[in-house]
């Protein structure tokens, strides 16, 4: 029996998210045109909201499920195992963390009426309630409606339909949708002036759940790589018989297991330090696994239609979410 990855957080939530993501990937694989893909993603996103996942972390008295970090992580792991191309973590985990203490908005979020993209990366300034500046490649739900914008320690809610707010749309390397925001004195609602702590918490949660998604994607990618090498024949034999490739896969597996250890520790004790080390390691281990998977698939590894390359691009992208490895290193060194 060849390798089958075991989930960190097995159970119904994981399985449901996994089935959802696998079905999503199958449908999307047939669509090439960006516009057609965006339209399909909009349909899938509505289906996801129907399942109530936007309310997973929202308290019950705000209409949510009152779930824990581990409940959310189980969804992220299931979704990650098939590289779900929807902003599950940004909208369903980071946004409610930012909105902690805003019961009305949390209720809107849980009901699927508020679908914000999240802008934590800087580049935006605020003057008397008006936002200006640019934010590039912001992950977004298929139909952009609002943005939660951090400006230093302050948190704003911006209606993207308002005058002074413009955007163009892109697709990321992992097939998710993004916005380039261009703000010129766009009026926004100040939600909290001193939200520094919750902004930091939200970013950390995003980083941790990106790691969870990536670990899951790496497990699937390693399995697909093994299956491919077992089946692909060259020189009259399966590629899986060549030691150079066997060792490469062993290295991918060990890197994945090592990262899994870090992510499990961070899930158990979600402190800043644990998360930063996990995300730092993701930069190294994830990149390695993605690159090597492409390499040992040969020319097939260069094609967009191969499921393995979709996973590889998801893993590569995960590093750039919520602070790349150098950002993690910088904060670890600053704390030392």
């Amino acid at each position: 029996m060849a390798f089958e990855p075991k989930p960190m957080l097995p159970g119904d939530a994981h399985d449901a998210a996994r089935r959802f993501a696998e079905a999503s990937a199958t449908t999307l694989a047939r669509l090439q045109e960006p516009a057609a893909r965006a339209a399909e993603l909009a349909v899938q996103w509505d289906a996801l909201l129907e399942l109530g996942w936007a309310g997973m972390l929202v308290p019950e008295d705000c209409g949510g499920a009152g779930g824990t970090l581990l409940d959310m992580a189980a969804l992220a792991e299931g979704a990650g195992s098939a590289a779900l191309a929807l902003p599950l973590v940004a909208v369903c985990a980071v946004a409610p963390t930012l909105l902690a203490g805003q019961p009305l908005l949390l209720a809107e979020l849980a009901a699927g009426r508020l679908q914000p993209c999240v802008v934590l990366a800087g580049g935006i300034t605020a003057e008397t309630g008006r936002l200006s500046g640019r934010a590039l490649g912001v992950e977004t739900p298929p139909v952009p409606g609002h943005a939660l914008v951090a400006v230093e320690d302050a948190l704003y809610l911006l209606d993207l339909g308002t005058a002074g707010a413009g955007f163009t749309r892109h697709e990321r390397i992992d097939g998710r949708l993004t916005l380039d925001l261009e703000l010129q004195g766009a009026p926004a609602r100040l939600l909290a002036a001193d939200a520094g702590a919750s902004i930091a918490r939200a970013r950390d949660l995003g980083a941790l759940l990106s790691c969870v998604e990536a670990v899951a994607a790496m497990g699937t990618l390693i399995r697909q790589t093994i299956d491919y090498l077992l089946q692909r024949q060259q020189f009259g034999t399966a590629l899986a018989s060549f030691q150079a490739l066997r060792h490469r896969v062993a290295e991918m597996y060990v890197a994945w297991r090592n990262l899994t250890g870090l992510v499990q520790a961070a899930l158990r004790t979600p402190e800043e330090r644990n998360i930063a080390f996990a995300k730092l390691r993701l930069g190294e281990a994830g990149r390695f696994v993605a690159e090597q998977a492409i390499q040992v698939h040969g020319g097939m590894g260069m094609t967009e239609e191969l499921p393995a390359t979709r996973l590889a691009r998801r893993i590569l992208m995960a590093e750039f979410e919520w602070g790349d490895r150098h950002a993690q290193a910088a904060r670890l060194l600053a704390a030392a």
Binding site: R246, N258, T260, R281, L332
Partner: protein, 392 residues
């Protein structure tokens, strides 16, 4: 007391013991990344034994502590955190369990007390010039003559043979059968006539390994463990007992701390900022990997506690730590190499080691190359992992 409180109390007890009872001059050698020998290990073992902690992994009836895997893990971890030497493994962890499982009553009575007290010093005679990763190809021959075996051949890489009293040795007693089925495990005193031990000089400038030449050495049959030609089974049993050796990542964390301090001290000048930041970054990457390995180690300990199979965990641990530790050694080399590598060995002194300050970082870098070679090389570990992953 609930279990976690009990374990926390145990941890505190071990720490207190380690800090108050391990002689400062021995801890200083560990703290300075120095070379450990019988001179440091034997007195430390005596102290542990006197306290009843001589053999953490042995059952009580043989003088062990009877601790479960969790406590043993804590014990090893705390000793490392306190810069105490890890216990010398050849007698305690390798031979002892084999003696307990397969030895005769006479053998147990003769050998276990000396291992416990640190009185007898053991080394492992497995590898040979022609038998490394492929150990089963070993050729050192033992021919039975009455109540003795006559042993002739050569062992190689025998760590500590120059300071040991005894060598547990795999020898060939039958060359006609499948290779693994003609091997026997003998206990050979190193002062027996016909034995010659020669230093093998290694790249680190320390003396650990030797060649051991055996020329018609007469070994009583009473020194055979178990049955003739069953030595491979006992050797495998021994290695299986050691599979969790990699679970203790604490020494690697201490090594990392020391390297970090070295980088800060060595590269404090403003002109060194780029180099310092690069090395600090590499240290963080290494720390991340060690943290991952520490989790794998904990999971392995819990698997043992739950009676679950370890599967690939030992190989994962070895592959997750061996070259990480090498990388830490390389960071230290990068920090001081330019200053000290050019002064490795004094030409006019007799000893192999230079007295140059910080030269041990160069020695350690060199020594650490062995981490991916012995105990099942990285390549051999990857073969094991791949076989399992591919199912072929």
């Amino acid at each position: 007391m609930d279990e976690t409180a009990e374990l926390a109390a145990f941890r505190a007890e071990v720490r207190d013991f380690a800090l108050t009872r391990c002689p400062p001059e021995i801890r200083a050698v560990v703290a300075a990344n120095g070379k450990l020998g019988r001179k440091q290990w034997a007195p430390w073992q005596r102290i542990l034994h006197a306290h009843g902690w001589g053999a953490p992994s042995w059952p009580k009836e043989h003088g062990g502590t009877g601790w479960d895997q969790r406590r043993r893990h804590i014990f090893d971890e705390v000793l490392a955190e306190c810069d105490c030497p890890p216990q010398y493994h050849h007698g305690l962890r390798h031979l002892g369990p084999v003696l307990i499982a397969f030895g005769t009553e006479e053998q147990k009575a003769r050998f276990l007390p000396g291992i416990l007290s640190g009185e007898d010093w053991w080394c492992q005679g497995y590898s040979e010039p022609g038998a490394g990763s492929d150990l089963a190809s070993l050729k050192t021959r033992a021919v039975r003559e009455g109540e003795e075996y006559v042993v002739t051949g050569q062992k190689l890489w025998t760590s500590h043979a120059h300071e040991a009293d005894w060598m547990y040795t795999l020898v060939r007693t039958n060359a006609e059968v499948k290779r693994q089925e003609g091997i026997t495990l003998l206990l050979i005193p190193l002062d027996a006539p016909g034995i010659r031990v020669r230093e093998v000089r290694t790249i680190d400038g320390w003396h650990h390994v030797n060649e051991v030449f055996l020329d018609a050495v007469r070994v009583p049959v009473a020194n055979r463990i178990g049955e003739e030609n069953k030595g491979w089974t006992y050797g495998k049993f021994l290695l299986d007992r050691e599979r969790l050796g990699g679970a203790n990542v604490a020494p690697a964390f201490r090594f990392l701390d020391r390297c970090r301090a070295l980088v800060a001290r060595e590269l404090a000048a403003p002109g060194q900022a780029l180099k310092r930041e690069q090395l600090e970054y590499r240290l963080l990457l290494a720390e991340a990997e060690l943290r991952g390995a520490r989790e794998l180690g904990r999971a392995a300990v819990e698997a043992v506690m739950a009676g679950e199979p370890l599967g690939l965990m030992p190989s994962e641990l070895k592959l997750s730590t061996a070259d990480t530790v090498q990388r830490i050694g390389a960071i230290a080399l990068d920090a001081v190499g330019e200053r000290v590598a050019s002064r490795f060995r004094p030409v006019d002194a007799s000893g192999p080691n230079a007295e140059v300050e910080d030269i041990e970082w160069v020695q350690n870098f060199m020594y650490l190359r062995a981490k991916t070679i012995f105990g099942g090389s990285n390549e051999v570990q990857k073969n094991v992992v791949a076989k399992q992953l591919f199912g072929m």
